[in-house]
């Protein structure tokens, strides 16, 4: 039963037609089929939050969704959010505050942070922690992550706009 199904998806603003086995998760399709490897697969059972993507504007676990279920939906990955500079200020704040150590959880953290601030522009630290309750950082760098999100909330409230995040040259 390895029948492939044709599939039409909007990924990072681009309409794509591809083929997927029904059992293939959206996370696997993004990583393997589309080479969007910023969506990380950690637990593959909806616990760690490393695979979060925006599905029709709301964060969901790409590991808890078969690609065929997403037929007709609009998906934004960390690559798409980065390219349109929607999270440039979050990325800069994470960088400045050292809110990432190994970086494995960071894409999911950024997706959660972006959705939180869209819904609640000035969250308390407790609200930030609650929003992050489904994102695991096994380096346990939570304090810095909460700091970075709090900083961005303050900056956005003050109307500051960040430049696009650029990786430092190696």
């Amino acid at each position: 039963m390895t029948t492939l199904r044709p599939l039409s998806l909007m990924v990072n603003g681009e309409t794509l037609t591809c083929f997927a086995e029904p059992r293939e998760t959206l996370a696997d399709l993004l990583r393997r089929g589309l080479e969007l490897t910023g969506t990380h697969t950690g637990c593959e059972m909806g616990v760690c939050g490393a695979c979060l993507v925006m599905l029709d504007g709301a964060p969901v676990h790409a590991c808890l969704l078969f690609a065929v279920q997403a037929e007709g939906s609009a998906i934004e990955t960390i690559e798409g959010l980065t390219a349109k500079t929607a999270i440039a200020d979050l990325q800069c704040a994470f960088h400045d505050r050292n809110a990432l150590q190994c970086g494995f959880c960071t894409p999911g953290m950024l997706v959660t942070a972006q959705a939180l601030l869209a819904r609640n522009p000035q969250p308390s630290r407790a609200e930030i922690r609650d929003a992050l309750s489904g994102n695991y950082c096994r380096c346990t760098g939570y304090e810095a992550i909460v700091d970075a999100i709090e900083t961005v909330a303050r900056r956005r409230a003050a109307g500051e706009v960040a430049a696009a995040f650029a990786e430092e040259p190696a």
């Binding site: 808890l64 279920q69 309750s133 489904g134």
Partner: protein, 286 residues
């Protein structure tokens, strides 16, 4: 951590879904939000040959108020239970419980119908359906029927749903100003399964409680109504003596299992603490 191969169907109507399920001869599963089913498939705890995706059936959607009943389509998402103004006004227990259900990203996908049809005894929404006296609208090849929450939850993960039947909607008696509702749970970490949780809905007549519904989660194989505690409240003012008698009555209502982390006596104690807090908060709100 990968699901076994299956075939995938996306019906557009309830009738089509029932048929697609029926012809699979018992080797099918419905999927809506999939937030419990997909992990079960990934871990190969379940391996159906056919997945019937009901998430695109319009008749399973919608939130409306009619003749004193709130109708919630089975596809209503957890996040809607949290945010929807009609739910907040007329089924406040769902709105109060929603922040305790898993984590934000799970709540964006998970559906009330999926949670209640799964009937995990440690889940919040099944117990709240019991506390609110909801009725489940169920479609099958023979037609549609309504089952009250009191006779819906039969045993561990077992409900009145027959194989192939589809949970269509919840019909909830709309709460009004005479109702007072409270929910809370005790969990080691936010988002973890609760050690014990409770939803309480009182109907007030002046200062006295005229009727009460109290349901607990995580105290046995199904969500459990605390009928003795309910009876101890009726016809009385909600004062500290009444609250103590309701707490005492829980010994008749709950018979929690022993497990390695939480002995039965501890769970009963925590259930009493929780009920005391909830009733105390409702007394103060008066």
């Amino acid at each position: 951590m990968k699901a076994r191969a299956f075939s995938y169907f996306r019906p557009a109507t309830i009738t089509e879904a029932l048929t697609v399920f029926a012809v699979a001869g018992g080797e099918a599963s419905y999927i809506a939000g999939g937030q419990s089913l997909v992990p079960a498939l990934a871990l190969r705890l379940q391996a159906p040959e056919r997945l019937v995706d009901i998430a695109h059936i319009d008749a399973l959607r919608g939130i409306s108020l009619e003749d004193g009943w709130l109708r919630l389509g089975a596809l209503t998402r957890h996040v809607e239970a949290h945010d929807d103004p009609l739910i907040a006004a007329h089924a406040p227990l769902l709105a109060l419980a929603a922040p305790h259900v898993a984590h934000p990203a799970i709540r964006n996908r998970g559906t009330l119908g999926g949670s209640v049809a799964l009937a995990d005894p440690a889940s919040e929404f099944p117990a709240m359906m019991l506390a609110m006296g909801a009725e489940m609208e169920i479609a099958g090849t023979e037609g549609t029927r309504r089952v009250p929450a009191d006779s819906f939850f039969l045993d561990l993960y077992q409900t009145a749903l027959e194989p192939g039947e589809l949970l269509v909607a919840f019909h909830i008696p709309a709460a009004g100003p005479e109702h007072r509702c409270a929910f809370d749970e005790l969990a080691r970490r936010r988002g973890d399964y609760a050690i014990v949780g409770c939803g309480t809905m009182l109907t007030m007549s002046g200062a006295e409680t005229s009727s009460a519904r109290i349901a607990f989660l995580a105290v046995g194989a199904t969500p459990v109504r605390a009928r003795a505690a309910e009876a101890s409240l009726v016809g009385r003012r909600l004062d500290s003596e009444t609250i103590r008698s309701a707490q005492a009555a829980l010994a008749e209502d709950l018979d929690p299992p022993d497990d390695e982390q939480v002995p039965a006596a501890m769970r009963l104690h925590l259930a009493r603490v929780l009920l005391g807090r909830l009733l105390g908060s409702l007394a103060e709100a008066a």
